[in-house]
Every structure is written in structure tokens, then in C-alpha cells.
């Protein structure tokens, strides 16, 4: 009669997970610590830059074109760098978004997943995402400037090197090649999130496949396409290595006016300020402020992209 209660009291009869297991506790804690450490690193980097950069940030700083000596905290500014970065990134989107979106449409709407050509395209996209940024820089120099640019100069008979030298257009094209996978992957994700029923309904009503894609699929995928574009922009805005040889200038007295001009750049300016400064203590405030401007720019974009993507993913999860 009292057997069941004695059974419950015997420690050996308990499930193991109910006992305190030191090993499990310790190692779970270790992995938790790793997670916390990663977040702490993020917090320290961002916090440090925010705290130190905030005081240097002012309207004057953001809206001034610096004189030759941009290491002087009193007179310097970052307007040409902001405009240069925005310019090269804007030109990039003109090239990368159409190509990326069309590729994604092919991959999700037309291609066979198992076909060889599809697998090769996917392999190429993945590989493109893994090419080191400095190799893109070399590619821009070797292909766009030394090959396309030189031939354009020869064909257009331009006086002196107009196209065969570093310029906004070449930097933008190099970045467009680099960010192509970003746009493709994001667009594909959003295309997959569209319920197949929508396409089927459209086809059943007599629309052709192309009409369905243009009228039904693309409008639905717009948030995803925007995410891809924004992510590409934020990735490209912070990249320095690909533009080192393809268009960035150490100093320019005037703003870039045409596609064949060189430009100043925020990321490159951070590099210049932190490695070439004659007096690092004096430049520290403007260096921090410049980094903060760059971070705010990329993060504002990233943040918007993350929000849109979370929305798209939720839709995708609801579908499955």
C-alpha cells in the first residue's frame, strides 16, 4: 500500500535529467558565455564609437568641405566623403538591382533545381559571395580600367586617358559585381515566400507566365527586393578594398561631377585618418566622428533591411 510512495522517494528511480548534472550545467553555461561574449564585443565596439564619436559630431562637421589639411579638427569636415560614398553606391544600385533581380527570377520561376545550368549558376553566385574584396579591386583595375577603359579611350579617341583611369563608374561597377550575390539571395528569398496559389490563380485566369511574374509576383516581392538593395548598399558603403585601385582619391578639392571623376570616400577616409595622421591624439575626435557617420549610415540601412526581412521571413514561415 505504501509501495508507490517509497518508489517515488528512491533516488535511483528518478530520471537522470531531474538530478543535478554538473557537466551539463557547466558546458551549457560555457556556450551561453560564448553567446554573451559575442554580444559584449558588439556592444563594446558600438558603445565605444558612439560615446567617443558623439561629441565630435556636429552639423558643421557633416556639411564642410575640408581644405587640404583634413587632419585639423577645427576646419575639417566629411561632406565630400559622404557625397562620394553616396554617389558610388547609387551608381552601383543602377547596375546591380536589375541584374540581381532578373537572375533571382530565373532561379525561382524558371530554372529546374536539379538542372546542371542551375547548379552552376548557384555555385557561381555562392562563389562570387566568397571572393575576397581585394581581388574585386584587382579585377576592377585589370578588367574595367585596363581593358574596358583603355578600349573605350581607343574607340572614342579621347584626348588623354579619360576612361582608362580610376573613376566613380569603375568603382561602382566593381562594387556591383561584388554585391550581386546579396541582391540575388534576398530577392530569391522573397520570391519563395509568395504563395504558389497566387501564381496558379493568375495562370488559371489566362495570364502568361511572364505576365504573372510582372503583375503578380514582382509587386509581392517588392519588400524583398528592397531588402536586397539596401543590404547591398550597406555592404558596399563600408567596403574599402575594392575601391582602393578603382576610384578613390586621397584628397580632392571639389566634389565629383561626372562618372569619370575620382571621389573621396568615408571608409577610405577612416583608413587615412587612422594610419596616416601626423598626430593621432589630435585627430582622434574627428576620426571617431567619421567612424560614427559611417556606422550610422550603414546601420540605418541595415536596420531597415533587417526589419523588412523579418517581416518576409514571418510570411515564409506561415506558409510552410
Amino acid at each position: 500500500m505504501n509501495a508507490p510512495s517509497s518508489l517515488a522517494r528512491t533516488p535511483g528511480r528518478h530520471f537522470r535529467s531531474e538530478r543535478f548534472d554538473f557537466g551539463s550545467f557547466f558546458f551549457s553555461g560555457l556556450t551561453g558565455l560564448a553567446t554573451v561574449l559575442i554580444l559584449a564585443i558588439l556592444a563594446v565596439i558600438l558603445g565605444n564609437i558612439l560615446i567617443n564619436g558623439w561629441s565630435g559630431l556636429s552639423w558643421r562637421f557633416v556639411s564642410t568641405i575640408p581644405k587640404k589639411d583634413f587632419f585639423d579638427p577645427e576646419t575639417t569636415g566629411v561632406l565630400p566623403m559622404i557625397i562620394g560614398t553616396a554617389f558610388r553606391v547609387f551608381v552601383m544600385t543602377i547596375f546591380v538591382i536589375p541584374i540581381g533581380v532578373i537572375t533571382a527570377i530565373y532561379l525561382t520561376e524558371y530554372a529546374h533545381t536539379a538542372a546542371l545550368s542551375t547548379r552552376i549558376i548557384r555555385g557561381a553566385v555562392n562563389n562570387l559571395a566568397g571572393v575576397p574584396s581585394i581581388v574585386f579591386g584587382l579585377f576592377g583595375l585589370g578588367f574595367f580600367i585596363n581593358f574596358i577603359g583603355k578600349n573605350m579611350d581607343a574607340i572614342l579617341k579621347s584626348a588623354g586617358p579619360t576612361w582608362s583611369q580610376p573613376a566613380v563608374i569603375w568603382a561602382s561597377l566593381t562594387l556591383a559585381v561584388m554585391t550581386l550575390p546579396v541582391v540575388i539571395v534576398a530577392t530569391e528569398e522573397s520570391l519563395k515566400a509568395i504563395p504558389p496559389g497566387l501564381r496558379e490563380a493568375s495562370l488559371a485566369l489566362g495570364a502568361t507566365k511572364l505576365e504573372t511574374i510582372i503583375r503578380i509576383v514582382l509587386p509581392q516581392a517588392l519588400p524583398g527586393i528592397m531588402t536586397g538593395g539596401i543590404l547591398a548598399v550597406s555592404r558596399a558603403a563600408g567596403e574599402v578594398a575594392p575601391i582602393l585601385f578603382t576610384g578613390v582619391a586621397y584628397y580632392m578639392a571639389s566634389l565629383p561631377k561626372s562618372l569619370t571623376d575620382q571621389f573621396m570616400d568615408l571608409g577610405y577616409h577612416v583608413y587615412v585618418l587612422s594610419t596616416q595622421s601626423p598626430n593621432i591624439e589630435q585627430t582622434r575626435p574627428i576620426l571617431y566622428a567619421t567612424v560614427l557617420v559611417l556606422l550610422l549610415l550603414t546601420f540605418a540601412l541595415n536596420f531597415v533591411a533587417i526589419l523588412i526581412r523579418a517581416h518576409v521571413r514571418k510570411k515564409l514561415r506561415a506558409l510552410n
Partner: protein, 397 residues
């Protein structure tokens, strides 16, 4: 049965899946072909990158470049006695350039060469190193005892009169920083991935994932800046080594850049292991940790390995971080010495290299080697991930 079905569906859908109705709707047909052609751009780009980076390095690969300081000089008076082909090679001209030139220009070119030879300082005239073509593979890869050195050494020193192009120190530098980065990042990222995907509540994931995305959104030039200004001093006070900027600092900073990629890929792999595995283990009385460590992790191991391989590719190709933190080229395996990686060398020296010269071409050669390394590691990572996914899907059925 299944195969027959597949081949049948292939037939009806046709080539590229855009066969239907191309006679009835020519515009649609053209648009679909256009979409297909544009989608090939990624393949074209990878191909072009390979082609054009290697193209600039071809003379080095083929051994056609001559970087020797002292070269054989043919007096300009012998212009008419020389065979045309030999003259062309001597002046380093292409066939079309040669055809455009008259005798006078050729003669003046030869005179320029004579003048240049006269201007070489006397101290190098008798130096045995001055007549060495330093872009030969022997000098690129093997140690050599240069004049003034007591033993054969690996030296990358593309300045001064005799450019020394041994690429081994750069490879050592790249490997050193990359390995430190991976040693730092992999345990951290994989640990966090296990925690987030297996042990923590789902709400933790909602915080950590955007955090990791934010971390990967920090431009590498900002990470480099942070390492240079803050971390270098911080780590020096902790470890107390001598050189403030060294491979160790660069490696840890690289780790920051690698953490997001290793985390997200291994987290993906861990979550894609069927939950039934965990449930079975828990039902048999294991703890959550035991299920994660002994059941889920081994099942996801190929995916985690792929994450490490892809992280390696990312780390070895990272430029700005290493460029800002350390750059002196020394041949040393010590992690507290400075190191110059391949990427850094390209970024720092391209500006001063003469377009088309041997320095320029050697840098492109380094670029194509780097491209080859990352291409292979990416391919390997990709193949492992694909196989892993197929295996898991096979088990699910």
C-alpha cells in the same frame, strides 16, 4: 518509374524550362531568353575575374618577366644587324607596337636603354644579385642568400634597386593571422550556435540573431580602426608582449569578422538536424546538453566543418583589418611578431607599382593565387553543405 516520370516532365517543359508557346508568343519567348541570359551573368563574372586577374599575371606565371637590374645591353649602332624578332623582344614591344615604329624611334629606344644601363650605381654593377631575374619561381618560393645576408632567407622587399619577391613570408603572414582568427572565432561562434539553437529559449534567438547580423554589418575598416586604437593597447596590457601591433591583434580582430559567418552557417546546420533526434535522446533520459553535444552536434558536424572552411576563406581574404593593424613583412612564425598578409601587400603596394611592371604583375600573381585559394575553399565548403543537406533529407524520408 520515378525516372520515367522525371524524363517525361523534362520533355514537356523543355530546354531551360521556357519552351512553351514560343511560337504563339514571340515577345514572351524573347523576354524569357533574355532572363536566362542575364541569369548567366554570375557565371560570366566569376570567369572574368579569374581571367582578368590572371591575365595581368601571365608574364610571371610563364616566366616571361625579367626584373634583373643589370641586363644585357645591345649598342644602338647594331640596330640594322639584329634580327627583327630579337629586337622586338629586347625592347619588350608587342607586334603591333613594333609595326608602328620607324627606324628612328627604335634607335632612340635602344639609346634610352643604353643610358639607363649607364645610370646604375657602381656598387650594383659588380653585385651578382643585380643580374638575377627575381620573378623566377626559384626566387619566388625558395630562400636565397642575398648579398649582405649571412644565410639564405625568405625576403619580400620590392623596393630599392634589387626587388626581392619571395612570397613565402606573405603566405606565412596570411596563415598566421587567419589561424589566430579561426582559433578565436570558431569555439566562440560554434558554442554560441549550440546555445542558441539547442539550449536557449526561442526568445534568446530573437535577440542574438539580429545582434550577429549587426556584427557582420560593421565595415571591416571600422573593425580595423577599433583594433588599432582600442584593442591593441588593451591586449598589450593583458599579455604584456613587446610589439604593440602584431599578428595576434590582427588575428583577434579578424575573428570579429569571422564570427558572424561561422555562427550563421553552423546555426543553420544545427537547426536543420531533425528535432526527433533531440526528442529521442531526451526521452531516453539524456540532459539537454548531452542531446546537443552527443547527438545533434555529431549529426551537424559536416555543416559546422563547412562553416569553418567558409570562415577560413573569409579570413584569408580580409584586407583592411590586417592592413591597419600590422604590415611589416617579417618571416616569423611567432604570433607576437608583425606579419604582412597577401591581401595587405596587394592593398599597400599597388599604388606605388608601375602599371605593367614586374612589381605590378607580381601583385596580380598574388591576387590570382589568393583567388584560387578562396575559390577552392568556397567550393569545398559548398559541396560539404550540399551533401550534408541531402543526407539529412534522405534520413527524414
Amino acid at each position: 518509374m520515378l525516372e520515367a516520370k522525371q524524363s517525361e516532365s523534362k520533355k514537356t517543359i523543355g530546354w531551360m524550362g521556357i519552351h512553351r508557346g514560343h511560337k504563339a508568343r514571340p515577345l514572351e519567348w524573347i523576354a524569357e531568353k533574355f532572363i536566362y541570359l542575364v541569369s548567366l551573368s554570375a557565371i560570366v563574372m566569376v570567369f572574368l575575374i579569374f581571367l582578368f586577374v590572371a591575365r595581368e599575371a601571365f608574364p610571371i606565371f610563364l616566366g616571361r618577366m625579367d626584373s634583373a637590374l643589370v641586363q644585357k645591353v645591345i649598342p644602338s649602332s647594331e640596330l640594322n644587324k639584329l634580327p627583327r624578332e630579337q629586337l622586338r623582344e629586347y625592347l619588350g614591344l608587342t607586334e603591333t607596337q613594333m609595326a608602328e615604329m620607324d627606324q628612328e624611334t627604335l634607335k632612340s629606344l635602344m639609346e634610352i636603354k643604353e643610358e639607363a644601363a649607364k645610370e646604375i650605381p657602381d656598387q650594383f654593377r659588380n653585385d651578382k644579385d643585380a643580374s638575377i631575374n627575381t620573378t623566377k619561381w626559384k626566387y619566388l618560393l625558395l630562400p636565397y642568400q642575398w648579398t649582405g645576408y649571412s644565410k639564405p632567407e625568405f625576403i619580400w622587399q620590392p623596393v630599392g634597386q634589387i626587388h626581392k619577391y619571395n612570397i613565402i613570408p606573405l603566405f606565412v603572414g596570411s596563415l598566421k593571422t587567419t589561424l589566430i582568427g579561426l582559433l578565436f572565432a570558431v569555439p566562440l561562434a560554434v558554442g554560441a550556435a549550440i546555445y542558441v539553437s539547442q539550449l536557449a529559449r526561442p526568445t534568446v534567438r530573437e535577440i542574438v540573431k539580429p545582434g550577429i547580423e549587426l556584427l557582420s554589418g560593421i565595415p571591416s575598416v571600422v573593425v580595423g580602426f577599433f583594433a588599432l586604437l582600442i584593442m591593441a593597447t588593451f591586449l598589450q596590457t593583458i599579455f604584456g608582449y613587446e610589439t604593440r601591433l602584431n599578428a595576434f591583434v590582427a588575428g583577434i580582430a579578424l575573428g570579429f569578422a569571422v564570427v558572424p559567418i561561422v555562427f550563421s552557417i553552423s546555426e543553420d546546420a544545427l537547426t536543420s538536424v531533425p528535432r526527433t533526434y533531440t526528442h529521442a535522446a531526451l526521452a531516453l533520459g539524456s540532459s539537454k546538453w548531452q542531446a546537443a553535444w552527443q547527438i545533434v552536434l555529431p549529426a551537424a558536424l559536416p555543416g559546422v566543418f563547412a562553416a569553418v572552411v567558409l570562415g577560413f576563406g573569409r579570413a584569408i581574404g580580409e584586407t583592411m583589418i590586417v592592413l591597419m593593424v600590422c604590415s611589416a613583412s617579417v618571416m616569423s612564425w611567432s604570433i607576437f611578431d608583425s606579419a604582412r598578409s597577401i591581401t595587405t601587400t596587394i592593398a599597400a603596394e599597388m599604388a606605388e607599382a608601375v602599371s605593367g611592371g614586374h612589381h605590378y604583375r607580381t601583385l596580380f600573381m598574388l591576387g590570382s593565387l589568393l583567388f584560387a585559394v578562396t575559390f577552392l575553399s568556397n567550393m569545398a565548403g559548398e559541396v560539404i553543405v550540399q551533401r550534408f543537406k541531402r543526407r539529412l533529407e534522405g534520413k527524414r524520408q
